[in-house]
């Protein structure tokens, strides 16, 4: 953290130009409009949209791609293989427009990919990335990030925070990395006029209405529900698709697979989901989670208990994607409420 927060301002009219400039030195990943908004690598500032509450896919793809080559191999004449690790992108990347909830999810993902075993594929990209957050003033119905102590208008988990205050963005660096980037593009930023804090405060008014659930002892309250019939009807309703896990910014499960060609091949990892039956299916044919009930139970226990047990944090940032996109309206916030209030008891 930078001790002295140095606030700057950029006029809205100059944003596209700034983004264009960023694409020249960095891989710029920013929200792009398709049917819904998604974070994509962009080649120019004009591709970027800022008219969104949150993206359908979180920017986790930029660190933990849906499919990522771990290494390639080539056969040699001597029944052996030459293994060639995949070279990481040589350029630094900037994620522009990340919401505070998604930024927090990266902190949770770091806990997984760091530690005793360092996942260099994730961590290298993480190190090479500068996060430019966009403060969130108009959350969606399904948003409940304050539940997890996230201030949607704060820059706690980003390097730089942009706050839309009408005709300008208030720009604050919260890390050295962020400050360095601002310095590099200093020409775009001007000194604040003075009314910025006030404007921002006004915009934040709406946030007071945001859903904030009680998760104070949720992990403990989950424990007795294990195996209970509370999960039966949720399991019955669940279609077993991977929407909730794939859209979730904190879900990190993956599978590893091989490609086998005549000349060689490679090994890749790709997203996987605890909702899929094969996820835990062993070669012997045994499956410790044989049905949708046990799988959905795993998902909620992982989010609300197991991750907490291991890392001291809940594995949810309240972004609301799984609620918004679940085709059968399984709602984690409802489940949290029911667990917290004791309504989720086993009949």
């Amino acid at each position: 953290m930078v001790n002295q927060k140095k606030s700057k301002v950029i006029e809205k009219g100059r944003l596209t130009e700034l983004l264009d400039k960023l694409t020249q030195g960095y891989h710029l990943i920013a929200p792009v409009q398709a049917k819904d908004v998604s974070f994509r690598r962009v080649e120019s500032g004009s591709e970027v949209t800022l008219d969104y509450i949150n993206s359908v896919l979180s920017p986790k793809n930029a660190f933990f791609s849906q499919t990522e080559t771990l290494f390639r191999f080539f056969r040699d004449d001597n029944r052996g293989f030459q293994i060639e690790p995949c070279v990481e992108a040589d350029r630094e990347q900037v994620i522009f427009g990340i919401r505070p909830c998604d930024a927090r999810s990266l902190r949770l993902m770091d806990m997984v990919f760091n530690g005793q075993y360092r996942d260099s594929y994730y961590l290298d990209k993480r190190e090479k990335t500068t996060l430019i957050g966009l403060a969130c003033f108009e959350p969606d119905e399904t948003c409940f990030c304050p539940t997890f102590g996230i201030d949607p208008a704060s820059g706690e988990d980003v390097d730089i925070l942009f706050s839309d205050i009408g005709d300008r963005y208030l720009v604050e660096a919260s890390t050295e990395k962020g400050a360095a980037l601002l310095d590099k593009f200093a020409g775009f930023f001007v000194e604040p006029r003075g009314d910025e804090e006030q404007l921002r405060k006004a915009r934040k008014a709406g946030l007071a209405r945001m859903k904030k659930l009680d998760v104070s002892a949720i992990a403990d309250k989950m424990a007795p529900l294990y195996g209970g019939d509370y999960w039966d009807s949720i399991g019955l309703k669940c279609l077993g698709c991977g929407i909730c896990t794939y859209l979730c910014p904190t879900c990190h499960c993956f599978d590893i697979g091989d490609v086998n060609l005549d000349e060689g091949g490679g090994r890749f990892r790709c997203w996987d989901s605890c909702m899929f039956p094969e996820f835990t299916l062993m070669a012997s044919g045994e499956n410790p989670r044989p049905n949708r009930k046990t799988r959905i139970q795993q998902r909620f226990f992982h989010k609300l208990k197991y991750f907490y047990d291991r890392n001291g944090e809940l594995a949810c940032v309240g972004c609301g994607r799984c609620i918004r996109y679940c085709p059968v309206n399984i709602d984690i916030s409802q489940i949290i409420e029911e667990v917290a209030s004791g309504k989720a008891g086993n009949d």
Partner: protein
């Protein structure tokens, strides 16, 4: 299952393959393919030496899969499968790669590309071989009765042959009389005798045979089943009867073309050779002076390119006869080429010439012209040899027309599921190697329904078909190639798609009796009815039904191998 150990045998086929494809290069390539533990070249893999090389290699290298790259499985697969079996390897662990018909013979001018293609074909074969599985053949009984369709000489010969071997025979003839086309003939060529003697003796033998059941006049209305087990429904004089037989011989003969040429059908002194014979036989020919015969009428023309083979001899026969009846008559035979092969026929032709029959060659581009308004008065023809046009006076014009397929061949072919080839004649399984069998097991062919045949040939073919047909009858059982469908009852969801697409009603939905799946409705294949087409395997939504020898795994592995994937 032991790890695959594949042996690859690449045939030079003398120079047939080796002269085009760089066989040593293919062998080296094969050696490096996955699971290949041995690869060698053979001068002729199908020779005794080649076969023993396979057997030895199976033992020496402990092979559990064999791939031969040579000619076509349609002729040689049984040979190599037997070689494997002799060496103690299940014959279904053999895979055939065709690098002759499908490679060296069709790419003779591009040795490099042909070699590359041969390599890739071998690679695909090896990829499939890796997934081959041992199979047991299903055995099914053969009902000891035969059906012969057609009561001409071919059919009667076949029927008598089988009946004399002690098998029950159903002989189906559509006319009210046995004898077929022969009944209409006046004389038989080379021996110059009336056919009656021959026909009568055969008909008597047939009629008096306790093992032969005659259906006459009768036609086949429907047929179903498979070798050993056919159900044929016959319409016999308006009454439908059902007959069960183990084999079927098709000997339905052919008919003579009635041409629309040379004023035939318009002027009454124009006859076909058959018409002439009819008149001679009935003694209704009357007086004649100058006879002109034209050969190849309606034959060897673009619409009907084949040579009917019999007409030249018929024309010679009848020309000589005309000269015999009226030695003063001028008899001309106008021909395009004369087919008088072999000693006997050539001699017959010489005698006709000696008797004074005159032969004039014409060409298709310059055909004879018929002169005369109410009757044919003369025929103009451009004589190739003399290089001049001659006008022959004529009061009897006789046209030699070809045999053409029966109109109902198509109907019968659909009923029996046997193919019809070019021109509408039935098509045998292999022109050289399987001349009297159809590709459909248990159905055989003899006589002119397959190709114009003279009496001698028809009888020989009748005997040949009968002796082929006697094999399953005698053995009492046939083995079905183990390419039938199998169901994985665990993944089968009982949707019944396979039941709907199976052309043989070989699949039924039944309650499973397998432990752990009791009561589950799943598909069950009746191996006796399954003909191994694989329609079910392609239609099954989750691939719970597979065709042995052509599994998804095997086919997809070939596709992947071709695209450089493993």
């Amino acid at each position: 299952m032991a790890a695959p150990r594949i042996g690859v045998f690449i045939c030079h086929c003398g120079t047939n393959i080796g002269g085009i494809v760089d066989v040593p290069e293919v062998v080296d390539y094969a050696k490096k393919l996955p699971y290949v533990v041995h690869a060698e070249a053979n001068l002729y893999t199908c020779s005794e030496e080649g076969i023993s090389a396979i057997k030895e290699a199976i033992k020496e290298y402990d092979l559990n899969r064999v791939v031969v790259a040579s000619c076509t499985p349609r002729t040689h697969q049984p040979l190599f499968r037997n070689a494997c079996a002799d060496a103690g390897l299940n014959p279904y662990l053999f895979e055939f790669v065709n690098i002759r018909e499908h490679c060296s013979w069709i790419h003779m001018h591009d040795r490099r590309e042909a070699t590359e293609k041969a390599k890739e074909l071998v690679k695909m074969g090896v990829a499939k071989a890796r997934w081959l599985e041992a199979q047991e053949e299903f055995e099914s009984g053969v009902y000891p009765a035969a059906m012969v369709i057609g009561g001409g000489v071919a059919g009667m010969s076949a029927a008598l042959n089988l009946a004399n071997q002690g098998f029950e025979v159903h002989l189906v003839e559509k006319e009210p009389e046995l004898g077929g086309r022969l009944l209409k003939l006046n004389r038989i060529f080379t021996i110059n005798k009336a056919p009656d003697e021959l026909v009568d003796s055969m008909v008597k033998a047939v009629q008096g045979h306790s093992k032969i059941k005659l259906h006459m006049p009768a036609v086949v209305k429907a047929a179903s089943g498979y070798i050993g087990n056919f159900d044929v429904s016959i319409d016999e004089d308006g009454q439908e009867t059902s007959v069960k037989v183990g084999v079927i011989i098709v000997a339905t003969g052919a008919q003579v073309l009635e041409p629309e040429l040379y004023s035939y059908g318009k002027l009454d002194n124009v006859l076909t050779q058959l018409g002439l014979e009819q008149r001679l036989k009935d003694g209704k020919l009357g007086e004649f002076q100058n006879v002109v015969m034209i050969n190849c009428v309606g034959a060897r023309i673009p619409e009907r390119p084949y040579c009917s083979r019999l007409c030249c001899m018929t024309a010679i026969k009848n020309a000589a006869l005309m000269k015999e009846i009226n030695p003063k008559a001028q008899v001309y035979v106008l021909h395009r080429d004369l087919m008088t092969y072999g000693v006997e026929f050539e001699e017959y032709y010489r005698k006709a010439r000696e008797a004074g029959v005159r032969f004039i060659r014409y060409t298709l581009s310059n055909p004879p012209q018929v002169m005369g308004a109410k009757r044919v008065e003369a025929v103009k023809v451009y004589d190739e040899l003399m290089d001049m046009e001659v006008e022959l006076s004529c009061n009897l014009l006789v046209l030699a027309t070809p045999l053409i397929p029966n109109a109902d061949n198509e109907e019968l072919s659909k009923m029996l599921k046997v193919p019809i080839g070019d021109g509408g004649f039935f098509l045998e399984a292999h022109v050289k190697l399987r001349p009297v069998e159809f590709a459909m097991d248990g159905i055989y062919v003899a006589g002119s329904c397959r190709w114009p045949a003279d009496i001698k040939e028809s009888i020989a073919q009748g005997y040949a078909a009968a002796s082929e047909a006697a094999i399953p009858l005698r053995q009492g059982a046939v083995r079905v190639e183990a390419i039938t469908a199998t169901v994985d009852p665990k993944t089968c969801k009982g949707c019944g798609t396979c039941v709907l697409v199976c052309p043989f009603d070989a699949i039924e939905l039944k309650e499973s009796k397998i432990k752990g799946l009791e009561g589950k409705i799943v598909s069950e294949v009746n191996a006796a009815l399954c003909k191994g087409c694989g329609l079910c395997a392609a239609a099954c939504p989750n691939r719970a039904i597979q065709q042995r020898g052509f599994t998804d795994m095997q086919l997809l592995s070939m596709v992947n191998a071709l695209s450089g994937k493993r």
